[in-house]
């Protein structure tokens, strides 16, 4: 497991190697430059102001000598000032490029992860999606990616910074005085360990507080969505108490966290400042003994001051680092799922032919058999209808036809071509499927329809909408075709969504059309008009209608009755009502109702159904 995370991280780093490597080099450079400022100060204090020997590197000392040495510098004290400005400009430039490059590297990586995840999720088999929780997947694609991004853009280089700083400081300080160096760094390991370990507690407490906050939000949300129930039962006071309890728990959890925070920061400060004081006192003692100069004091105290924060931060980063690995693992869990594939010999044949199910067996993963040895034939260009009770496998037929699932055994052929050998995108493009609960994207209604056929003009789209009985509500809505739908748009009723989805599917060029209970939410009259339009529109399209409505089924060329995954009866409406069975029972229920009021009603509707 762990290896794979590292491989994912490594591949991200490798792709942006020049940015990260460049940034790393600049980081080292700017850390290095950072140590120059105190050195300049020390030179001024010791050499120019107190007449102690110079500690500049030889080439710089020679340059100063050439200019006229200490006397010259004393006359031109703006020169060290200029050096300070130069150092901060150059190190600023380094820092700027470093930050920019890391953020480019991190953002590139984040983009790659996001794109990979999105593309991969789209290509995963539907069976995967059927059992995955949307919220969890979204979380992985957003929060976890962000965690990785933050690690790359901030923490990665902070580690480099901290390690380099300690290293360089050691290299510079030890030559001045090994003893002071040791004293000056004595608390540092403790500070680091403290930050590392204690911050873990902080993170844990934070998670608890965050979870409590989530519960509090749930109470709020349930109260708001259930406002009618609350009011109808006069439970406002109890709701307030419930919310009060949740909100107070959140508050108290955060206050507990505040204790840890306060301890963490104040203790860290104390250790850091104690280190500074220790260094200062020891330096003073050494200076009094004449072993070091004022400049050395400035150098030591400044360097130690510069080290405290990165060391503390390093502890924090390390206790966070584990979370980045967890995030990588969660991302990788998605990416290592196998995508849908076509066979190597997949073809894109003409699909205008008979649909044949040949001894098809199908079960959902972990579920019982849904289709058992199912065989039937739908002649090309005809309309077939399926009727069946819950769990009889009607919808599975539709999903199998589009290869959203694959049968465990048996064959499905269209025009003699086994669909397992047909390229899945070709198959789906030729087989139009309208779902019972169709999905509309967060786009305008116009774009939603057009997405099935990007080349379609307004005229075609209007016609499809008219045939699907969607034109009226589209044109009546305030912004007409430009109405935004989907999650962030207006809420369409179930029937409106179904009609929009029908129009969308009609726009593409279909050899086969499947309506999976997709007229369930429109009223009977509209249902009839849609079916009428369909008949006019696509005479040679093979159509499969799955429905609960006898009216909808009655006109099909052939009706299949499904019971427990098998065809229990098939035939025309007339044939089926004359035979005992589910179809007839339903018919009897209707007749039974009709007896109760008027006989004519029965005839009237039957006529309507047969016109």
């Amino acid at each position: 497991m762990k290896k794979r995370n590292h491989r994912l991280l490594a591949s991200l780093l490798r792709e942006n190697l020049r940015y990260f490597l460049g940034a790393g080099i600049l980081a080292i450079l700017s850390v290095f430059l950072g140590f120059f400022t105190p050195a300049v100060l020390a030179e001024v204090l010791d050499n120019y102001l107190q007449g102690l020997p110079s500690r500049l590197p030889a080439f710089l000392a020679e340059a100063v000598e050439a200019l006229g040495g200490r006397q010259f510098m004393r006359a031109n004290l703006w020169l060290p000032g200029l050096a300070l400005v130069m150092i901060s400009v150059v190190s600023g430039a380094c820092n700027f490029l470093k930050s920019r490059w890391t953020s480019i590297g991190a953002e590139n990586s984040a983009r790659r992860l996001r794109n990979d995840l999105y593309a991969h999720l789209q290509e995963l088999p539907f069976a995967y999606h059927a059992k995955a929780a949307t919220g969890d997947l979204v979380q992985r694609c957003t929060s976890d990616v962000d965690m990785v991004r933050r690690f790359m853009s901030m923490q990665l280089l902070s580690i480099v910074d901290a390690v380099m700083m300690v290293g360089i400081a050691l290299a510079l300080l030890i030559p001045i005085s090994l003893k002071i160096t040791i004293v000056s760094l004595v608390i540092m390991p403790a500070l680091f360990l403290f930050a590392w370990q204690f911050f873990k507690l902080v993170v844990k407490a934070f998670r608890r507080a965050d979870e409590s906050d989530g519960r509090q939000t749930t109470v709020l949300q349930e109260n708001l969505t259930g406002v009618r129930v609350v009011r109808a039962f006069g439970q406002a006071q109890r709701e307030i108490e419930k919310y009060e309890e949740a909100a107070a728990d959140t508050r108290d959890k955060y206050l507990k966290l505040a204790w840890l925070d306060a301890i963490y920061w104040s203790t860290g400060d104390m250790m850091g400042m104690a280190q500074s004081l220790l260094t200062l006192l020891f330096c003073l003692m050494e200076a009094r003994a004449g072993r070091i100069s004022v400049g050395d004091i400035v150098v030591f105290t400044s360097y130690i001051g510069m080290l405290i924060w990165p060391v503390r931060n390093l502890g924090r980063i390390l206790s966070h680092g584990g979370r980045t690995m967890v995030s990588l693992e969660r991302i990788d869990e998605i990416l290592r799922q196998k995508r849908e594939t076509d066979r190597e010999d997949a073809a894109a044949p003409d699909l205008r032919g008979d649909i044949v199910f040949d001894r098809v067996n199908f079960a959902y993963e972990g579920g019982g058999e849904v289709l058992r040895d199912l065989s039937f034939t739908i002649p090309a260009g005809k309309t077939a209808a399926f009727l069946g009770a819950t769990g009889s496998g009607k919808s599975s037929i539709a999903l199998l036809m589009q290869r959203l699932y694959a049968p465990q055994s048996g064959r499905i052929t269209i025009g003699g071509h086994n669909i397992a050998q047909v390229a899945r995108r070709h198959l789906r493009a030729r087989v139009g499927l309208v779902l019972q609960e169709p999905f509309l994207y967060s786009k305008t209604i116009y774009d939603n329809l057009r997405m099935a056929a990007p080349e379609a003009g307004q005229e075609m789209i209007t016609r499809a909408a008219r045939d699907a009985q969607a034109l009226e509500f589209i044109e009546q809505s305030e912004k007409g075709w430009q109405t935004m739908v989907g999650e962030r748009g207006v809420t369409l009723s179930g029937g409106q969504k179904q009609r929009a989805a029908i129009a969308r599917t009609l726009l593409k060029d279909n050899d086969i059309l499947i309506f999976d209970d997709s007229l369930s939410a429109v009223d009977t009259a509209t249902d009839a008009r849609i079916r009428e339009a369909l008949r006019r529109r696509s005479r040679d399209t093979t159509t499969i209608i799955i429905s609960h409505r006898i009216l909808t089924l009655a006109q099909a060329d052939i009706i299949f009755v499904l019971e427990e995954g098998r065809i229990s009866a098939q035939g025309s409406h007339e044939e089926l009502i004359s035979r005992p069975g589910l179809y007839q029972r339903i018919h009897h229920i209707q007749s039974g109702l009709e007896d109760e009021f008027l006989f004519q009603a029965h005839n009237g509707t039957r006529e309507a159904a047969h016109e």
Partner: protein
């Protein structure tokens, strides 16, 4: 929870509004003391921050000069230690107390907002989405609380540090001090500009980020549709554009920050350079000490921090103000439906009922010339009259938009009539408290709402005092007992958020049992059993009839069985009663009811045989 960030990302162009903050500040009266304490701690911290470089100066000037070599170091160490302790102590306390301010303020505002939400009328809920309200009591109160806790911390520290350091420098050496201060205006202008633009860039990033979240959500929820329309490539292309925009915006925001800090440090290094050049010359002339020089160099480096904090606080101000406006406007919204003071006096308010004064409800309901219009002027009911005897069962049928739900909403006093009166037992219900009526209601919705918790909790929602046996009896009555017992912990099984572990039909049964347990005088069933399967429907039909006996009930239903047994059926069309009477009478009349019946009910009956539950189970 869904993502509501788009609601937050409005553009803020308004001017600073001190009145608003004053109002908020008054709301927080309880926390003034704590805020004062935090400010005091920050003052201690700022002053010690200014003293520390002076300590170093003192050390350099007094302990290593020839004349100071003999003076003992320990008083200095002790003093320094004292400062450290003062600083550590104030850090500890300010974090603790600022967090208290933050979380208590947050809690208080949430409670105030929540209480207000329990009072607001349905007309408010109709025009305000749940998502919008949610973010008022989550992200808005969070932002405000944080601003009052920590914004204050930053601001106080920055201002006091700035003042103290200026005074210290001026006292030690005013010429050098002026050199450092000279850089301040430049720093301030640059900092303000950058803070503003960095914030703007970050806002852009957040905006795109919430779109990416939306795209992922959509890509996953719509995967079936995507696959069946072969939309994968087109979707990916759109998504890749989005992530490309994100990359650009994020790098832009990062670049702005990356320029900002080095730039400011370079500028403050100008001050250091001036101080060093001029200060060193003065040391040579013997005007100032070495220690003074190091202290000034120190100050010149630190001078920038408070300026940045102040700029950041002001840059955040707009966001805070927007949050403040929304929260204050929620707190100041007046509910449309309020009990008059006289009514509250006698019957109590929504939270503190005075049940001892409540009259018993018998269940006679009269609509007297009732007209109802929505705020936008759409008339739903006009001059509607209806007289219902106690115990009568009224079924309301009619096409969508005919006003069925409005009648129920008016009856429950979720709305009040625009004109006309509604009488309960002969008294205008506005002369009684809302709670008086609503405590006697049994209300079952088509889309049943359950709360997180166990089945038992939900059954006893309206009557927490009811015994387990009573609750189980109610469940048995509606035939819910069997499936409840099959759940992992029976009656103590969790139903999940919003009842997510149950099918719609099961939720309907539970919400029905909940209403029965409540033992109300008035019953309202809004398509209450539409998702229950045929078999169960037949079984609970009997229970419904039993339960409704002796209670006035209003039923909106498509189910034949329910409607048939009603004492009276009202067929509504366009806010008026088009037909009225018993089932057989109406059929015989061969009018609109007959039409509706033939078209709709027949197929429904067939659908039931096939198991309507499917819809719920698959959803």
């Amino acid at each position: 929870m869904s993502d509501f960030s788009h609601i937050e990302e409005q553009d803020y162009t308004r001017k600073f509004d001190p009145g608003l903050f004053k109002k908020l500040f008054l709301h927080m009266r309880r926390h003034w003391k704590k805020m004062g304490f935090v400010a005091a701690m920050m003052a201690v911290l700022a002053v010690t921050d200014v003293i520390l470089p002076l300590m170093t100066r003192h050390a350099i000037d007094h302990y290593i000069t020839p004349e100071g070599l003999s003076s003992p170091l320990w008083p200095f160490g002790l003093a320094y230690l004292g400062i450290i302790l003062a600083q550590v102590g104030s850090v500890f306390l300010f974090i603790l107390v600022a967090a208290r301010v933050e979380h208590h303020v947050n809690y208080d505002m949430r409670m105030k907002g929540f209480r207000k939400l329990q009072e607001l009328s349905f007309s408010y809920y109709d025009r305000t989405s749940v998502g919008y309200l949610m973010s008022r009591l989550t992200s808005d109160t969070n932002n405000l609380a944080e601003a009052f806790g920590w914004g204050l911390v930053d601001l106080v520290w920055a201002v006091i540090f700035l003042i103290a350091v200026t005074i210290a420098m001026l006292v030690i050496n005013w010429q050098l001090a002026l050199m450092v201060i000279a850089v301040v205006p430049v720093l301030a202008v640059i900092t303000a500009w950058f803070q503003k633009h960095i914030l703007k860039a970050q806002r852009e990033v957040r905006k795109i980020n919430s779109r990416i979240t939306g795209a992922f959500n959509e890509g996953i929820m719509g995967v079936k549709t995507t696959k069946s329309l072969v939309r994968e490539d087109a979707n990916f292309e759109e998504f890749s554009h989005l992530t490309g925009d994100m990359r650009r915006a994020a790098v832009r925001a990062a670049t702005l920050s990356a320029v900002f800090l080095p730039l400011v440090i370079a500028i403050s290094s100008l001050a250091s350079a001036l101080v060093l050049g001029e200060g060193a010359a003065r040391v040579l002339r013997g005007v100032i000490s070495l220690g003074t020089l190091t202290a000034f160099v120190n100050y010149s480096v630190q001078f920038f921090n408070p300026i940045r904090d102040i700029a950041a606080t002001f840059a955040e101000m707009q966001r805070i103000q927007a949050a403040a406006e929304r929260v204050v406007s929620l707190l100041e919204t007046e509910p449309d439906i309020q009990d008059s003071p006289a009514v509250v006096e006698k019957y109590g308010d929504n939270f503190h009922p005075r049940r001892e004064n409540w009259e018993e409800i018998h269940g006679a309901v009269t609509f007297e010339n009732v007209t109802f219009r929505y705020k936008d002027g759409t008339e739903v009911l006009s001059d509607f009259n209806l007289d219902v005897r106690p115990g009568e069962t009224i079924a309301i049928v009619g096409p969508t938009g005919a006003g069925k739900s409005t009648i129920v909403n008016l009856l429950c006093r979720f709305y009040e009539p625009t004109a006309g009166r509604i009488l309960i037992d002969g008294v205008d219900y506005r002369e009684r408290s809302q709670l008086w009526l609503q405590s006697s209601l049994g209300y079952v919705l088509q889309e049943p709402h359950l709360f997180s918790g166990t089945v038992m909790d939900n059954l006893r929602y309206a009557d927490p005092e009811a015994s387990r046996e009573q609750a189980m009896a109610a469940a048995r009555l509606v035939n819910a007992d069997a499936f409840i017992r099959k759940m992992d912990k029976g009656y103590d099984s969790e139903v999940g958020e919003g009842g997510s572990r149950l099918s719609t039909g099961e939720k309907q049964l539970i919400s029905f049992a909940r209403a029965i347990l409540h033992n109300p005088r008035l019953f309202v069933l809004d398509e209450a059993t539409s998702s229950v399967d045929t078999e169960t429907e037949v079984l609970i039909q009997h229970a419904i009839e039993e339960t409704l006996k002796g209670r006035t009930s209003f039923i909106i239903a498509h189910r034949l069985s329910t409607i048939r047994s009603a004492d009276r059926i009202l067929l509504l069309e366009g806010g008026r009663i088009a037909e009225e009477g018993r089932h057989e009478e109406l059929l015989r009349r061969r009018g609109a009811y007959y039409e509706l019946y033939t078209n709709q009910f027949r197929e429904e009956a067939a659908g039931q045989l096939l198991g309507r539950r499917e819809t719920a189970a698959e959803a």
